[in-house]
Protein backbone atom coordinates (compact mmCIF):
# COMPACT_ATOMS: atom_id res chain seq x y z
CA UNK A 1 0.00 0.00 0.00
CA UNK A 2 2.87 2.36 0.83
CA UNK A 3 4.35 1.65 -2.57
CA UNK A 4 1.03 2.41 -4.26
CA UNK A 5 0.76 5.60 -2.24
CA UNK A 6 4.21 6.91 -3.08
CA UNK A 7 4.00 5.89 -6.75
CA UNK A 8 0.66 7.66 -7.11
CA UNK A 9 1.85 10.71 -5.20
CA UNK A 10 4.97 10.89 -7.37
CA UNK A 11 2.75 10.96 -10.47
CA UNK A 12 0.70 13.77 -8.94
CA UNK A 13 3.78 15.72 -7.83
CA UNK A 14 5.13 15.49 -11.35
CA UNK A 15 2.06 17.29 -12.67
CA UNK A 16 1.32 19.60 -9.75
CA UNK A 17 4.00 21.74 -8.11
CA UNK A 18 1.73 22.39 -5.15
CA UNK A 19 2.09 18.79 -3.94
CA UNK A 20 4.37 18.45 -0.90
CA UNK A 21 5.27 15.35 1.10
CA UNK A 22 5.96 15.75 4.82
CA UNK A 23 7.12 12.82 6.90
CA UNK A 24 7.84 12.31 10.57
CA UNK A 25 11.15 10.63 9.77
CA UNK A 26 9.48 7.52 8.32
CA UNK A 27 9.46 6.07 4.84
CA UNK A 28 13.00 4.68 4.70
CA UNK A 29 13.57 2.77 1.46
CA UNK A 30 10.23 4.04 0.08
CA UNK A 31 10.47 7.85 -0.18
CA UNK A 32 14.02 8.26 -1.48
CA UNK A 33 12.99 8.59 -5.10
CA UNK A 34 10.41 11.28 -4.30
CA UNK A 35 12.97 13.13 -2.16
CA UNK A 36 15.51 13.10 -4.96
CA UNK A 37 13.08 14.21 -7.62
CA UNK A 38 11.40 16.94 -5.58
CA UNK A 39 13.92 17.95 -2.90
CA UNK A 40 12.19 21.23 -2.06
CA UNK A 41 8.82 19.58 -1.75
CA UNK A 42 9.97 16.73 0.46
CA UNK A 43 10.18 17.76 4.10
CA UNK A 44 11.42 15.30 6.65
CA UNK A 45 10.09 17.12 9.71
CA UNK A 46 11.91 14.85 12.12
CA UNK A 47 10.30 13.18 15.08
CA UNK A 48 8.09 16.17 15.80
CA UNK A 49 4.57 15.51 14.60
CA UNK A 50 2.83 18.47 16.22
CA UNK A 51 5.09 20.84 14.34
CA UNK A 52 4.75 18.75 11.18
CA UNK A 53 0.96 19.07 11.18
CA UNK A 54 1.20 22.81 11.88
CA UNK A 55 3.73 23.21 9.05
CA UNK A 56 1.31 21.39 6.74
CA UNK A 57 -1.44 23.82 7.75
CA UNK A 58 0.87 26.77 7.09
CA UNK A 59 1.77 25.38 3.66
CA UNK A 60 -1.91 24.87 2.84
CA UNK A 61 -2.72 28.40 4.01
CA UNK A 62 -0.22 29.60 1.43
CA UNK A 63 -1.66 27.57 -1.43
CA UNK A 64 0.24 24.28 -1.22
CA UNK A 65 -1.18 20.75 -1.15
CA UNK A 66 0.66 18.92 1.63
CA UNK A 67 0.53 15.16 2.24
CA UNK A 68 1.56 14.33 5.81
CA UNK A 69 2.86 10.84 6.47
CA UNK A 70 3.73 8.72 9.48
CA UNK A 71 2.66 5.65 11.43
CA UNK A 72 -0.99 6.11 12.35
CA UNK A 73 -0.87 6.91 16.09
CA UNK A 74 1.89 9.47 15.52
CA UNK A 75 0.25 11.25 12.58
CA UNK A 76 -3.22 11.28 14.13
CA UNK A 77 -3.25 11.21 17.93
CA UNK A 78 0.10 12.80 18.72
CA UNK A 79 -0.92 15.89 16.79
CA UNK A 80 -4.68 15.61 17.17
CA UNK A 81 -5.22 19.18 18.27
CA UNK A 82 -3.19 20.47 15.33
CA UNK A 83 -5.43 18.37 13.07
CA UNK A 84 -8.50 19.76 14.81
CA UNK A 85 -7.63 23.46 15.07
CA UNK A 86 -5.13 24.09 12.31
CA UNK A 87 -6.42 21.71 9.64
CA UNK A 88 -10.11 20.93 10.22
CA UNK A 89 -11.31 24.14 11.87
CA UNK A 90 -9.66 26.14 9.10
CA UNK A 91 -10.88 23.54 6.57
CA UNK A 92 -7.50 23.29 4.83
CA UNK A 93 -6.40 21.08 1.97
CA UNK A 94 -4.17 18.82 4.04
CA UNK A 95 -4.06 15.09 3.33
CA UNK A 96 -3.03 12.85 6.22
CA UNK A 97 -1.59 9.48 5.25
CA UNK A 98 -1.31 7.04 8.11
CA UNK A 99 0.38 3.68 7.71
CA UNK A 100 -0.25 0.63 9.88
CA UNK A 101 -4.05 0.27 10.00
CA UNK A 102 -5.35 -1.97 12.78
CA UNK A 103 -2.82 -4.62 13.73
CA UNK A 104 -0.51 -4.08 10.74
CA UNK A 105 2.36 -3.55 13.17
CA UNK A 106 1.10 -6.46 15.28
CA UNK A 107 4.21 -7.67 17.12
CA UNK A 108 5.44 -4.14 17.84
CA UNK A 109 2.79 -3.67 20.50
CA UNK A 110 -0.23 -1.47 21.13
CA UNK A 111 1.72 1.81 20.84
CA UNK A 112 1.95 1.06 17.13
CA UNK A 113 -1.54 -0.36 16.64
CA UNK A 114 -4.24 1.78 15.08
CA UNK A 115 -7.58 0.77 16.51
CA UNK A 116 -9.08 4.11 17.60
CA UNK A 117 -8.03 6.43 14.77
CA UNK A 118 -11.22 6.21 12.70
CA UNK A 119 -13.49 6.92 15.64
CA UNK A 120 -11.42 9.91 16.64
CA UNK A 121 -10.99 11.45 13.21
CA UNK A 122 -14.54 10.74 12.10
CA UNK A 123 -15.70 13.11 14.84
CA UNK A 124 -13.80 16.06 13.35
CA UNK A 125 -15.97 18.33 11.17
CA UNK A 126 -14.75 18.78 7.55
CA UNK A 127 -12.67 15.60 7.69
CA UNK A 128 -13.01 12.85 5.10
CA UNK A 129 -11.96 9.42 6.40
CA UNK A 130 -10.83 6.64 4.06
CA UNK A 131 -9.69 3.10 4.81
CA UNK A 132 -8.90 1.25 1.57
CA UNK A 133 -8.44 -2.51 1.49
CA UNK A 134 -6.41 -3.24 -1.61
CA UNK A 135 -4.01 -1.50 -4.00
CA UNK A 136 -6.82 -0.57 -6.43
CA UNK A 137 -8.87 1.15 -3.74
CA UNK A 138 -5.76 2.87 -2.44
CA UNK A 139 -4.78 4.29 -5.80
CA UNK A 140 -8.31 5.32 -6.73
CA UNK A 141 -8.93 7.03 -3.41
CA UNK A 142 -5.62 8.90 -3.55
CA UNK A 143 -6.46 10.13 -7.04
CA UNK A 144 -10.03 11.09 -6.11
CA UNK A 145 -9.16 12.78 -2.83
CA UNK A 146 -6.46 14.74 -4.68
CA UNK A 147 -9.29 16.47 -6.51
CA UNK A 148 -10.92 17.61 -3.24
CA UNK A 149 -9.87 20.58 -1.17
CA UNK A 150 -10.89 19.47 2.31
CA UNK A 151 -8.92 17.65 5.02
CA UNK A 152 -8.67 13.94 4.34
CA UNK A 153 -7.34 11.02 6.34
CA UNK A 154 -6.23 7.97 4.39
CA UNK A 155 -5.50 4.91 6.49
CA UNK A 156 -3.12 2.41 4.92
CA UNK A 157 -2.44 -1.17 5.87
CA UNK A 158 1.21 -2.02 5.88
CA UNK A 159 1.71 -3.88 2.63
CA UNK A 160 1.34 -7.08 0.70
CA UNK A 161 -2.43 -6.77 0.27
CA UNK A 162 -3.76 -8.82 -2.58
CA UNK A 163 -5.57 -7.11 -5.43
CA UNK A 164 -9.28 -7.71 -4.88
CA UNK A 165 -10.90 -5.31 -7.33
CA UNK A 166 -10.65 -5.24 -11.09
CA UNK A 167 -8.02 -2.81 -12.34
CA UNK A 168 -10.60 -0.29 -13.59
CA UNK A 169 -13.08 -0.59 -10.70
CA UNK A 170 -14.71 2.78 -10.14
CA UNK A 171 -14.16 3.38 -6.44
CA UNK A 172 -15.74 6.65 -5.32
CA UNK A 173 -15.44 8.59 -2.08
CA UNK A 174 -18.57 8.02 0.00
CA UNK A 175 -19.94 5.14 -2.06
CA UNK A 176 -20.25 1.45 -1.24
CA UNK A 177 -18.89 -0.99 -3.82
CA UNK A 178 -20.54 -4.37 -4.19
CA UNK A 179 -18.01 -7.07 -5.06
CA UNK A 180 -20.31 -10.05 -4.88
CA UNK A 181 -24.04 -10.37 -4.86
CA UNK A 182 -25.93 -12.70 -2.53
CA UNK A 183 -29.33 -13.26 -0.95
CA UNK A 184 -28.52 -14.72 2.46
CA UNK A 185 -27.08 -11.63 4.11
CA UNK A 186 -24.53 -8.85 3.69
CA UNK A 187 -20.95 -8.38 4.82
CA UNK A 188 -19.82 -4.74 4.79
CA UNK A 189 -16.05 -4.51 5.10
CA UNK A 190 -13.07 -2.21 4.82
CA UNK A 191 -9.31 -2.16 5.25
CA UNK A 192 -7.72 -5.56 5.75
CA UNK A 193 -11.19 -7.11 6.00
CA UNK A 194 -11.71 -6.55 2.29
CA UNK A 195 -9.43 -9.50 1.54
CA UNK A 196 -10.68 -11.49 4.52
CA UNK A 197 -14.27 -10.73 3.56
CA UNK A 198 -13.64 -12.12 0.09
CA UNK A 199 -12.34 -15.34 1.63
CA UNK A 200 -15.34 -15.50 3.95
CA UNK A 201 -17.99 -15.18 1.25
CA UNK A 202 -16.16 -17.77 -0.87
CA UNK A 203 -16.00 -20.20 2.03
CA UNK A 204 -19.66 -19.57 2.86
CA UNK A 205 -20.55 -20.20 -0.75
CA UNK A 206 -18.84 -23.57 -0.62
CA UNK A 207 -20.95 -24.33 2.44
CA UNK A 208 -24.09 -23.45 0.51
CA UNK A 209 -24.66 -19.89 1.70
CA UNK A 210 -24.77 -16.96 -0.63
CA UNK A 211 -23.64 -13.75 1.06
CA UNK A 212 -23.24 -10.34 -0.47
CA UNK A 213 -19.90 -8.54 -0.05
CA UNK A 214 -19.81 -4.76 0.04
CA UNK A 215 -16.61 -2.79 0.36
CA UNK A 216 -17.03 0.50 2.21
CA UNK A 217 -13.63 2.18 2.13
CA UNK A 218 -15.12 5.56 3.04
CA UNK A 219 -15.99 6.05 6.71
CA UNK A 220 -17.01 9.65 6.25
CA UNK A 221 -18.91 11.03 4.47
CA UNK A 222 -21.13 8.07 3.55
CA UNK A 223 -23.62 8.45 0.74
CA UNK A 224 -26.69 7.06 2.55
CA UNK A 225 -28.81 6.76 -0.56
CA UNK A 226 -26.14 4.74 -2.34
CA UNK A 227 -25.81 2.53 0.72
CA UNK A 228 -29.56 1.92 0.97
CA UNK A 229 -29.62 0.98 -2.72
CA UNK A 230 -27.12 -1.75 -1.97
CA UNK A 231 -28.86 -3.15 1.11
CA UNK A 232 -32.48 -2.79 0.04
CA UNK A 233 -34.58 -5.68 1.34
CA UNK A 234 -31.75 -7.21 3.35
CA UNK A 235 -32.49 -8.76 6.75
CA UNK A 236 -29.00 -9.66 7.97
CA UNK A 237 -26.08 -7.21 7.90
CA UNK A 238 -22.59 -7.61 9.37
CA UNK A 239 -19.78 -5.08 9.48
CA UNK A 240 -16.20 -6.34 9.72
CA UNK A 241 -13.25 -4.12 10.52
CA UNK A 242 -9.85 -4.09 12.19
CA UNK A 243 -10.71 -1.23 14.53
CA UNK A 244 -12.21 -0.81 17.97
CA UNK A 245 -15.84 -1.83 17.88
CA UNK A 246 -16.50 1.74 19.04
CA UNK A 247 -16.35 4.48 16.46
CA UNK A 248 -15.39 2.72 13.25
CA UNK A 249 -17.22 1.15 10.31
CA UNK A 250 -19.75 -0.67 12.50
CA UNK A 251 -20.62 2.51 14.33
CA UNK A 252 -20.90 4.52 11.11
CA UNK A 253 -23.20 1.97 9.47
CA UNK A 254 -25.30 1.45 12.61
CA UNK A 255 -25.85 5.19 12.94
CA UNK A 256 -27.32 5.18 9.45
CA UNK A 257 -29.35 1.98 9.87
CA UNK A 258 -30.91 3.03 13.18
CA UNK A 259 -32.24 6.20 11.62
CA UNK A 260 -33.68 4.27 8.68
CA UNK A 261 -36.52 1.80 8.33
CA UNK A 262 -34.11 -1.15 8.43
CA UNK A 263 -35.70 -3.80 10.65
CA UNK A 264 -33.35 -6.72 10.15
CA UNK A 265 -30.53 -8.03 12.28
CA UNK A 266 -27.30 -6.04 12.45
CA UNK A 267 -24.02 -7.09 14.00
CA UNK A 268 -20.67 -5.37 14.32
CA UNK A 269 -17.53 -7.46 14.24
CA UNK A 270 -14.27 -5.83 15.18
CA UNK A 271 -11.81 -5.45 17.99
CA UNK A 272 -13.44 -5.40 21.44
CA UNK A 273 -12.88 -2.24 23.47
CA UNK A 274 -9.49 -3.23 24.86
CA UNK A 275 -5.76 -3.13 24.04
CA UNK A 276 -4.21 -6.43 23.06
CA UNK A 277 -1.71 -7.67 25.60
CA UNK A 278 -0.77 -10.71 23.58
CA UNK A 279 2.31 -10.61 21.37
CA UNK A 280 2.03 -11.62 17.76
CA UNK A 281 1.28 -10.75 14.18
CA UNK A 282 -2.01 -9.41 12.85
CA UNK A 283 -3.45 -12.88 12.11
CA UNK A 284 -2.57 -14.05 15.59
CA UNK A 285 -4.07 -10.98 17.26
CA UNK A 286 -7.26 -11.29 15.23
CA UNK A 287 -7.56 -14.90 16.37
CA UNK A 288 -7.12 -13.73 19.97
CA UNK A 289 -10.13 -11.48 19.48
CA UNK A 290 -12.28 -14.19 17.87
CA UNK A 291 -11.77 -12.70 14.44
CA UNK A 292 -10.36 -15.80 12.74
CA UNK A 293 -12.21 -16.78 9.59
CA UNK A 294 -13.56 -19.91 11.29
CA UNK A 295 -14.95 -18.00 14.29
CA UNK A 296 -16.44 -15.30 12.10
CA UNK A 297 -18.21 -17.87 9.92
CA UNK A 298 -19.61 -19.55 13.02
CA UNK A 299 -20.87 -16.21 14.29
CA UNK A 300 -22.38 -15.32 10.92
CA UNK A 301 -24.22 -18.64 10.67
CA UNK A 302 -25.48 -18.43 14.25
CA UNK A 303 -27.10 -15.10 13.39
CA UNK A 304 -28.28 -16.43 10.04
CA UNK A 305 -30.24 -19.12 11.89
CA UNK A 306 -31.98 -16.40 13.95
CA UNK A 307 -33.42 -14.60 10.94
CA UNK A 308 -33.95 -17.56 8.63
Amino acid sequence: MRKVFIDTLTELAEKDKKVYLLTGDLGFSVFENFAQRFPKRFLNCGVAEQNMMGVAAGLALNGKKPYVYSIIPFVTMRCLEQIRNDVCYQNLDVKIIGVGAGFSYGPLGATHHAIEDIGILRALPNMTVLSPGDPIETKQLILKSYLTKNPTYLRLTKGGEKVIHYENANIKIGKPFTLKKGKDGVLIVNGVFLGIGKNLVEKLEKMGYNFKLISMPTLKPIDKKALFNEIKGEKLIFTLEEHNIIGGLGSAISEILLESSYDGLFKRMGIPDQYPHAVGGADYLRRKFALSEGKIIKDILKNYEKVK
Binding site: K40, R41, N51, M53, G54, V55, G58, Q82, D86, Q90
Partner: protein, 266 residues
Protein backbone atom coordinates in the same frame (compact mmCIF):
# COMPACT_ATOMS: atom_id res chain seq x y z
CA UNK B 1 -1.03 60.29 13.66
CA UNK B 2 1.70 59.50 16.17
CA UNK B 3 2.22 56.05 17.67
CA UNK B 4 1.20 57.30 21.12
CA UNK B 5 -2.18 58.49 19.90
CA UNK B 6 -2.71 55.31 17.86
CA UNK B 7 -1.91 53.04 20.77
CA UNK B 8 -4.16 55.05 23.05
CA UNK B 9 -7.04 54.65 20.57
CA UNK B 10 -6.37 50.92 20.31
CA UNK B 11 -6.42 50.63 24.11
CA UNK B 12 -9.73 52.46 24.30
CA UNK B 13 -11.21 50.14 21.71
CA UNK B 14 -9.98 47.08 23.60
CA UNK B 15 -11.43 48.35 26.87
CA UNK B 16 -14.77 49.10 25.25
CA UNK B 17 -14.97 45.62 23.70
CA UNK B 18 -14.02 43.95 26.97
CA UNK B 19 -16.36 46.07 29.06
CA UNK B 20 -19.35 45.55 26.77
CA UNK B 21 -18.77 41.82 26.38
CA UNK B 22 -17.70 41.30 30.02
CA UNK B 23 -15.02 38.88 28.91
CA UNK B 24 -11.52 38.00 30.13
CA UNK B 25 -7.90 38.39 28.94
CA UNK B 26 -7.79 42.16 29.26
CA UNK B 27 -4.29 42.16 30.76
CA UNK B 28 -2.97 40.00 27.91
CA UNK B 29 -4.43 42.36 25.30
CA UNK B 30 -3.01 45.48 26.88
CA UNK B 31 0.56 44.17 27.08
CA UNK B 32 0.98 43.85 23.31
CA UNK B 33 -0.55 47.14 22.12
CA UNK B 34 2.77 48.88 21.38
CA UNK B 35 4.03 45.80 19.52
CA UNK B 36 0.89 45.68 17.37
CA UNK B 37 1.03 49.43 16.78
CA UNK B 38 4.56 49.31 15.38
CA UNK B 39 3.87 46.15 13.40
CA UNK B 40 0.68 47.39 11.74
CA UNK B 41 1.62 51.06 11.33
CA UNK B 42 5.28 50.69 10.36
CA UNK B 43 6.71 47.24 9.77
CA UNK B 44 4.19 44.97 8.04
CA UNK B 45 3.93 45.27 4.26
CA UNK B 46 0.16 45.13 4.10
CA UNK B 47 -2.66 46.95 2.39
CA UNK B 48 -6.02 47.09 4.17
CA UNK B 49 -7.69 47.61 0.79
CA UNK B 50 -6.19 44.34 -0.46
CA UNK B 51 -5.98 42.19 2.66
CA UNK B 52 -5.23 38.99 0.72
CA UNK B 53 -2.64 40.31 -1.73
CA UNK B 54 -0.23 37.50 -2.49
CA UNK B 55 2.97 39.18 -1.39
CA UNK B 56 1.72 40.66 1.88
CA UNK B 57 3.59 40.06 5.09
CA UNK B 58 1.72 37.56 7.25
CA UNK B 59 0.99 38.19 10.91
CA UNK B 60 -0.09 35.36 13.20
CA UNK B 61 -1.41 36.13 16.67
CA UNK B 62 -0.38 32.86 18.24
CA UNK B 63 -1.54 34.11 21.64
CA UNK B 64 -5.07 33.97 20.30
CA UNK B 65 -6.56 35.12 23.62
CA UNK B 66 -5.24 38.57 22.73
CA UNK B 67 -7.75 38.67 19.87
CA UNK B 68 -9.40 41.90 21.02
CA UNK B 69 -6.06 43.69 20.66
CA UNK B 70 -5.66 42.36 17.12
CA UNK B 71 -9.22 43.29 16.12
CA UNK B 72 -8.81 46.79 17.59
CA UNK B 73 -5.53 47.24 15.72
CA UNK B 74 -6.91 45.96 12.41
CA UNK B 75 -9.88 48.28 12.71
CA UNK B 76 -7.60 51.19 13.58
CA UNK B 77 -5.54 50.37 10.49
CA UNK B 78 -8.63 50.43 8.28
CA UNK B 79 -9.20 46.74 7.59
CA UNK B 80 -12.86 46.99 8.63
CA UNK B 81 -15.28 49.52 10.14
CA UNK B 82 -14.94 50.28 13.82
CA UNK B 83 -18.56 49.45 14.55
CA UNK B 84 -17.86 45.76 13.94
CA UNK B 85 -15.86 45.86 17.17
CA UNK B 86 -19.17 46.25 19.02
CA UNK B 87 -19.99 42.66 18.06
CA UNK B 88 -16.99 41.23 19.93
CA UNK B 89 -18.12 38.07 21.76
CA UNK B 90 -21.76 39.08 21.26
CA UNK B 91 -24.47 36.68 20.08
CA UNK B 92 -24.48 36.72 16.30
CA UNK B 93 -21.32 38.86 16.24
CA UNK B 94 -18.37 38.57 13.90
CA UNK B 95 -15.55 38.54 16.41
CA UNK B 96 -14.89 35.49 18.59
CA UNK B 97 -12.82 35.68 21.77
CA UNK B 98 -9.92 33.95 20.06
CA UNK B 99 -8.82 35.15 16.63
CA UNK B 100 -10.41 33.13 13.85
CA UNK B 101 -9.39 33.05 10.21
CA UNK B 102 -11.20 35.54 7.98
CA UNK B 103 -13.74 36.47 10.68
CA UNK B 104 -12.87 39.95 9.47
CA UNK B 105 -10.33 40.95 6.80
CA UNK B 106 -6.79 40.79 8.10
CA UNK B 107 -7.04 37.82 10.45
CA UNK B 108 -4.76 35.29 8.75
CA UNK B 109 -5.03 32.25 10.99
CA UNK B 110 -7.25 30.69 13.65
CA UNK B 111 -5.58 30.46 17.02
CA UNK B 112 -6.65 29.98 20.60
CA UNK B 113 -4.79 26.92 21.73
CA UNK B 114 -1.22 27.90 22.53
CA UNK B 115 1.75 26.58 20.58
CA UNK B 116 0.01 26.41 17.21
CA UNK B 117 1.05 29.70 15.61
CA UNK B 118 4.77 29.12 15.19
CA UNK B 119 4.46 25.77 13.34
CA UNK B 120 1.93 27.33 10.96
CA UNK B 121 4.25 30.30 10.50
CA UNK B 122 7.04 27.87 9.68
CA UNK B 123 4.88 26.27 6.96
CA UNK B 124 4.17 29.69 5.48
CA UNK B 125 7.88 30.57 5.59
CA UNK B 126 8.78 27.37 3.72
CA UNK B 127 6.15 28.17 1.07
CA UNK B 128 7.50 31.71 0.67
CA UNK B 129 11.09 30.51 0.30
CA UNK B 130 10.22 27.80 -2.21
CA UNK B 131 8.15 30.26 -4.25
CA UNK B 132 11.01 32.79 -4.25
CA UNK B 133 8.78 35.39 -2.57
CA UNK B 134 10.18 37.94 -0.17
CA UNK B 135 7.25 38.37 2.19
CA UNK B 136 7.89 37.79 5.88
CA UNK B 137 5.95 35.91 8.55
CA UNK B 138 5.58 37.41 12.02
CA UNK B 139 4.33 35.28 14.91
CA UNK B 140 3.42 36.89 18.22
CA UNK B 141 3.54 34.45 21.13
CA UNK B 142 2.92 34.75 24.84
CA UNK B 143 5.54 33.85 27.40
CA UNK B 144 3.54 31.02 28.96
CA UNK B 145 3.11 29.67 25.44
CA UNK B 146 6.83 28.89 25.37
CA UNK B 147 6.05 26.02 27.75
CA UNK B 148 4.38 24.18 24.85
CA UNK B 149 6.64 21.57 23.27
CA UNK B 150 5.34 22.38 19.79
CA UNK B 151 6.99 25.83 20.03
CA UNK B 152 10.39 24.18 20.39
CA UNK B 153 9.68 21.63 17.66
CA UNK B 154 8.99 24.56 15.36
CA UNK B 155 12.03 26.45 16.66
CA UNK B 156 14.29 23.52 15.74
CA UNK B 157 12.72 23.13 12.31
CA UNK B 158 12.94 26.84 11.47
CA UNK B 159 16.62 27.06 12.35
CA UNK B 160 17.46 23.83 10.54
CA UNK B 161 15.80 25.14 7.38
CA UNK B 162 17.37 28.60 7.77
CA UNK B 163 14.01 30.36 7.66
CA UNK B 164 15.23 33.92 7.95
CA UNK B 165 11.88 35.17 6.66
CA UNK B 166 10.30 34.09 9.96
CA UNK B 167 10.16 36.41 12.97
CA UNK B 168 8.96 35.28 16.38
CA UNK B 169 7.99 37.87 18.95
CA UNK B 170 7.41 37.04 22.60
CA UNK B 171 5.13 39.26 24.65
CA UNK B 172 7.11 38.65 27.82
CA UNK B 173 4.85 40.08 30.53
CA UNK B 174 6.02 37.45 33.00
CA UNK B 175 2.55 36.50 34.16
CA UNK B 176 0.73 33.39 33.04
CA UNK B 177 -2.66 32.00 33.98
CA UNK B 178 -1.81 30.95 37.53
CA UNK B 179 1.03 33.28 38.50
CA UNK B 180 4.54 34.43 37.63
CA UNK B 181 6.20 32.51 34.81
CA UNK B 182 9.39 32.04 36.79
CA UNK B 183 7.42 30.45 39.64
CA UNK B 184 5.23 28.17 37.55
CA UNK B 185 7.68 26.94 34.93
CA UNK B 186 10.89 28.90 34.75
CA UNK B 187 11.48 30.20 31.23
CA UNK B 188 14.85 31.72 31.97
CA UNK B 189 17.36 31.89 30.52
CA UNK B 190 14.93 32.55 27.66
CA UNK B 191 17.29 34.39 25.35
CA UNK B 192 19.93 31.71 25.67
CA UNK B 193 17.37 28.99 25.00
CA UNK B 194 16.29 30.54 21.70
CA UNK B 195 19.90 31.24 20.76
CA UNK B 196 20.81 27.63 21.48
CA UNK B 197 17.97 26.57 19.18
CA UNK B 198 19.60 28.52 16.36
CA UNK B 199 17.65 31.78 16.39
CA UNK B 200 19.10 35.27 16.34
CA UNK B 201 17.65 36.98 19.40
CA UNK B 202 17.11 40.62 20.35
CA UNK B 203 15.54 42.04 23.49
CA UNK B 204 13.57 45.27 23.76
CA UNK B 205 11.30 47.18 26.06
CA UNK B 206 8.00 46.10 24.52
CA UNK B 207 6.35 49.42 25.31
CA UNK B 208 9.06 51.61 23.79
CA UNK B 209 8.07 52.52 20.23
CA UNK B 210 11.50 53.47 18.99
CA UNK B 211 13.16 50.36 20.43
CA UNK B 212 10.56 48.07 18.83
CA UNK B 213 10.71 49.96 15.53
CA UNK B 214 14.48 49.90 15.42
CA UNK B 215 14.71 46.19 16.16
CA UNK B 216 12.09 45.17 13.58
CA UNK B 217 13.34 47.49 10.84
CA UNK B 218 16.22 45.24 9.95
CA UNK B 219 15.01 41.73 9.25
CA UNK B 220 16.43 39.15 9.43
CA UNK B 221 18.45 39.96 12.51
CA UNK B 222 21.06 37.75 10.90
CA UNK B 223 21.05 36.28 7.42
CA UNK B 224 20.24 32.58 7.33
CA UNK B 225 18.64 32.52 10.78
CA UNK B 226 15.10 32.97 12.05
CA UNK B 227 14.71 36.07 14.22
CA UNK B 228 13.30 36.20 17.72
CA UNK B 229 12.35 39.38 19.53
CA UNK B 230 11.87 39.14 23.27
CA UNK B 231 9.69 42.10 24.18
CA UNK B 232 9.70 42.83 27.89
CA UNK B 233 6.21 44.00 28.68
CA UNK B 234 3.83 44.64 31.54
CA UNK B 235 0.55 42.79 31.74
CA UNK B 236 -2.33 45.27 31.83
CA UNK B 237 -0.07 48.06 30.56
CA UNK B 238 -1.69 51.49 30.33
CA UNK B 239 -4.22 51.11 33.14
CA UNK B 240 -2.47 51.74 36.44
CA UNK B 241 -4.57 49.44 38.63
CA UNK B 242 -4.27 46.57 36.15
CA UNK B 243 -0.54 46.72 35.57
CA UNK B 244 1.35 43.58 36.52
CA UNK B 245 -1.73 42.14 38.21
CA UNK B 246 -2.55 38.49 37.58
CA UNK B 247 -6.26 38.91 38.23
CA UNK B 248 -6.63 40.98 35.05
CA UNK B 249 -6.10 37.81 33.07
CA UNK B 250 -9.64 37.04 34.21
CA UNK B 251 -11.53 39.97 35.68
CA UNK B 252 -14.26 41.91 33.94
CA UNK B 253 -14.55 45.68 34.06
CA UNK B 254 -17.25 47.20 36.26
CA UNK B 255 -19.04 50.28 34.99
CA UNK B 256 -17.29 52.44 37.56
CA UNK B 257 -13.86 51.08 36.64
CA UNK B 258 -14.56 51.49 32.93
CA UNK B 259 -15.53 55.13 33.34
CA UNK B 260 -12.49 55.77 35.50
CA UNK B 261 -10.16 54.13 32.97
CA UNK B 262 -11.60 56.11 30.08
CA UNK B 263 -11.13 59.33 31.98
CA UNK B 264 -7.51 58.48 32.74
CA UNK B 265 -6.77 57.51 29.13
CA UNK B 266 -8.28 60.76 27.90
Amino acid sequence: MGYTKISKDIRKKILKMMYESQTAHLGSCLSCVELLTILYFKILKINPKHPLSENRDRFILSKGHGAAALYATLSQRGFFPEKILDTYCQDGGKLPGHSTINCVPGVEVSTGSLGHGLPMGVGMAVAAKNDGKDYRIFVLMSDGECEEGSVWEAAMFAAHHKLDNLIGIIDYNKLQAFGRTNEIMALEPLKEKWSAFGWQVKEVNGHNFSEIEKSLSKIPFRKGKPSLLIAHTIKGKGVSFMEDKLEWHYKNLTEADYKLVLKKLS
